[in-house]
Subunit: 248 residues, 2 copies
């Protein structure tokens, strides 16, 4: 692995998670912590990240106040607009949480008349001023950092309904491991969501392509549509084109 590759990987991780630990990176990239430290120092000197004892933080995190800016907002808006194409009047839609999904529901046309079930309170609230959409919030224990409802309540509730289409964001997707996530509770809920839906749409910014998290949500085969911010013909998506889902 070239130094440059490491650097882009580190920057990606920092932007994605707002922080990285030297120890984690050393394992991920299979180099010594000394090397990582040197990398972090260089990236700090060029102002791309902020190095701190134990790792590094994103530049924006350093300023606590403007933290409400969504990372890669433009990309997510592009994804949202593609996703909306899949929604037709009268559908019963199921959604997860996360900024990509919120962006999607923000873009929903005002004349669309559908029913949306969601496990995400922020998504539900965003839809509160949409005149024609019936919103059902699926209740359960609130997962604090991802702000979605989880737990057995949610899973058993989902087992009793069938949805036309399910939209999920994801933290990791790769050819080998499919869709992956890092939180057990959320994985369980996502599995139940997928099971309860006729069609599965995964929304994912390009940066998260080919990244792997600890736990598997589903195989690539279970996906019906994959939406990214890239052109479907982009070379990065080459291998994904050979899967049997629709690429947008």
């Amino acid at each position: 692995m070239l130094k440059k590759e490491r650097h882009t990987h580190i920057i990606k991780q920092v932007n994605l998670h707002n922080k990285v630990l030297s120890s984690d990176l050393a394992i991920e990239l299979n180099v010594s912590e000394d090397t990582i430290r040197r990398d972090l120092n260089e990236l700090d000197e060029t102002g791309q990240i902020v190095k701190v004892h134990g790792g590094a933080l994103s530049r924006s995190y350093h300023y606590p106040f403007q933290h409400n800016t969504i990372y890669a907002a433009d990309a997510k808006k592009g994804i949202a607009l593609k996703a909306i194409e899949l929604i037709k009047d009268g559908m019963v839609v199921l959604t997860g949480g996360g900024t990509t999904i919120i962006e999607m529901v923000m873009q929903l046309p005002k004349n669309l008349s559908i029913t949306i079930f969601t496990i995400s309170p922020p998504v539900a609230l965003q839809l509160a001023d949409h005149p024609l959409i019936k919103v059902v919030l699926i209740g359960g224990e609130l997962s604090k950092d991802s702000q979605v409802c989880t737990g057995t309540q949610v899973v058993s509730y989902l087992s009793e309904i069938k949805f036309d289409i399910c939209f999920l964001g994801t933290n990791g997707i790769s050819l080998m491991d499919g869709v992956t996530d890092s939180d057990l509770d959320i994985v369980q809920v996502k599995k139940a969501m997928i099971k309860a839906s006729k069609r599965l749409v995964i929304m994912c910014i390009a940066e998260k392509l080919n990244s792997v998290q600890r736990m598997r949500v589903c195989e690539l085969q279970q996906i019906n549509s994959l939406i990214t911010d890239l052109d479907p013909a982009d070379h990065i998506l080459q291998a994904y084109r050979r899967q049997n889902f629709q690429l947008y």
Copy 2:
């Protein structure tokens, strides 16, 4: 957790509440109080907060953007502080929605360890950064203007649990007609909430005293505690003092 992360968390908390206690922060961030004290000293030295005995205060306590436009915010804050007195460690609490309730959960001490069930997504989200409170959102159809979950799902869910105490805001309360509200769906949910709780606390700003809405939620007799922003001895509350609930 990196030191820098702790620092930004502390600054955020200070700006949000204008004060923090070392003991709370130690629990929240899961480090010793010594570490917190050192953090506070460093942040004080760099002028970001003002350290005082027991915790820290915000340096400039008027922040322009914190002028949230809740109607009668001061009154509601007063109510909130009285309400909190009724909550003890380990309780299972049920809450409705509305700005008064939100104000209450904002004021909940950081070292309080309870379970809160709520029908209000905004209340749930407000509690998301409270480390010790388990939050369960009761799901259902989202009522667009009041932003709470309603419908038969909620009612039947409530029939299966018993809560220690239930906090409700209200749109109308009067000697003749008791607690009243204007929306049928919400009235039905509130009735179910009252039925599911051992104690009922009604929170109401003075302005709404003696006002009547279209539909009855409950009789005054069913109330265990009434909290207003007035002094309990205030002459406006004279008639209410003769009821058999506690006045705060």
